[in-house]
């Protein structure tokens, strides 16, 4: 354990007002700990004040409200994975949850933590992007609602203000007639940080694409929607030439890099191939 404990303080917010106070004093929220404690063990967690938010019931729960599914920011991977509503309407999120780490991580890691940590390889963002998620940010001023597509601004930069907590994700259960696709390419079958990750939904009528949304993780500073590929495919009838062209256009939407886990070249080719796998599957 390389983190020097006297350099850190961990408080606990039992109520929202306490949480806002902590935030005002510059303390950082601590949810499931599956990211923060790894940094602490490596000795690279920024020292200072943190506060536990697991007691904030306002941030919990997965429920259907009118025609919207609300996922509290403190929903764990396990809760998302096992929830009937999510299994029925948002299977990509179920698969994302199942392939994170393993059971012990899934029991502790949270949706809000995954979004806030903002790793380019984060598991939920691609699915949230293709499901047109909205995100609620909570401060003492109330709730601010944004399109999730506009939440991530760049590498580890987001719309989240220092005085805000992620409150919830809103999804509309409009994808029952869509085909859903998810594939995470990692280094092994469990506990793998992804090298590339595709989430995609499409509404297809006899090989003609009526609607399509495609997002990738791990191949850009943030998860990204493939606006160029989507624009190209919308309204087209799938055949091998179209699919091949879509693969080529993908380079405009992603910027895979070399790092300790993989190479930019591999990520690009694998990303193109899983796009092809998806399109062949729906065509």
């Amino acid at each position: 354990m390389r983190g020097y404990l006297p350099d850190y303080r961990l408080g606990s917010a039992k109520k929202l007002e306490e949480a806002f106070n902590f935030l005002e004093n510059g303390a950082r929220p601590f949810a499931g700990g599956t990211d923060i404690m790894v940094l602490m063990d490596s000795g690279i967690l920024p020292p200072g004040e943190y506060f536990d938010i697991l007691n904030l019931k306002e941030l919990r729960g997965i429920k259907l409200r009118k025609d919207e599914v609300h996922l509290g920011a403190l929903s764990t991977y396990s809760e998302i994975r096992d929830h009937q509503l999510i299994q029925k309407h948002f299977p990509i999120l179920v698969q994302s949850a199942r392939e994170v780490g393993a059971i012990a991580i899934q029991n502790r890691g949270t949706l809000g933590g995954n979004i806030a940590n903002a790793s380019p390889a984060a598991d939920f963002p691609p699915g949230l992007l293709v499901y047109d998620a909205k995100i609620n940010l909570l401060s003492s001023q109330g709730i601010r609602n944004l399109d999730y597509n506009n939440f991530h601004l760049g590498y580890k930069k987001s719309e989240l203000q220092p005085n805000e907590l992620i409150h919830s994700i809103i999804l509309k259960p409009h994808f029952l007639k869509y085909r859903h696709f998810w594939r995470k390419v990692g280094s092994r079958q469990a506990q793998a940080i992804s090298k590339t990750m595709i989430a995609a939904v499409a509404k297809v009528n006899k090989k003609k694409i009526e609607d399509i949304k495609i997002a990738y993780g791990s191949v850009a500073p943030t998860a990204v929607r493939c606006s160029h590929v989507e624009f190209f495919l919308l309204g087209k009838t799938l055949n091998s030439k179209i699919i091949s062209e879509a693969k080529n256009i993908l380079v405009k939407d992603i910027q895979p890099i070399d790092d300790i886990r993989s190479t930019g070249k591999y990520r690009l080719v694998a990303s193109q191939n899983v796009l092809e796998e998806f399109l062949c599957g729906i065509g």
């Binding site: 599956t34 490596s42 697991l54 059971i103």
Partner: protein, 152 residues
């Protein structure tokens, strides 16, 4: 430092710890429950697995503050005078070699059985996906767990 109360293997404990201390270190260093092991410090090997409020967690990733008031089961809480059926099957089927991953494996196996009385081989493999073993190649661990389900 904070006074934190928690229940471990049915017994109430009170510790005085830095709230950021890892549950793993409180178990091992303060409470002398050394059955739970550290293999990696980053939630990857599962040697530190315990059951908290009925769910499998990596104790190296849980700050003691978040274990306050919780019920925890560690390997020491499994056997009474005699070994549990699961532990007996680990003996019979060769599920433990060097033994360092074994406490975590028992916790993960316990968690699998809490969810399902008769898990399939695939479900067992998935349930153990977060527990690394370098000695066994996993087969005899899976067989130990499979042998136990028929008793349920």
């Amino acid at each position: 430092m904070k006074k934190i109360k928690l229940t471990i293997n049915g017994k109430l404990f009170s510790v005085n710890s830095n709230p950021f201390s890892r549950l793993l270190d409180v178990l091992r260093d303060e409470l002398k429950l050394t059955g739970t092991k550290e293999g990696c410090g980053e939630g990857e090997c599962g040697a530190c697995s315990v059951i908290m409020e009925g769910k499998l967690v990596n104790s190296c990733l849980v700050p003691i503050l978040q274990a306050e008031g919780k019920k925890i089961l560690t390997v020491e809480g499994l056997a009474k005078k005699s070994l549990t059926p699961l532990q007996k099957n680990f003996m019979k089927c060769g599920g433990a070699q060097c033994g360092i991953c074994t406490p975590g494996m028992l916790m993960a196996a316990h968690a699998i059985q809490l969810k399902k009385k008769k898990p399939s081989k695939k479900e067992i493999r998935e349930g153990l996906g977060g527990n690394l073993c370098r000695c066994t190649g996993y087969s005899q661990i899976i067989e130990s767990i499979q042998a136990t389900r028929s008793k349920a």
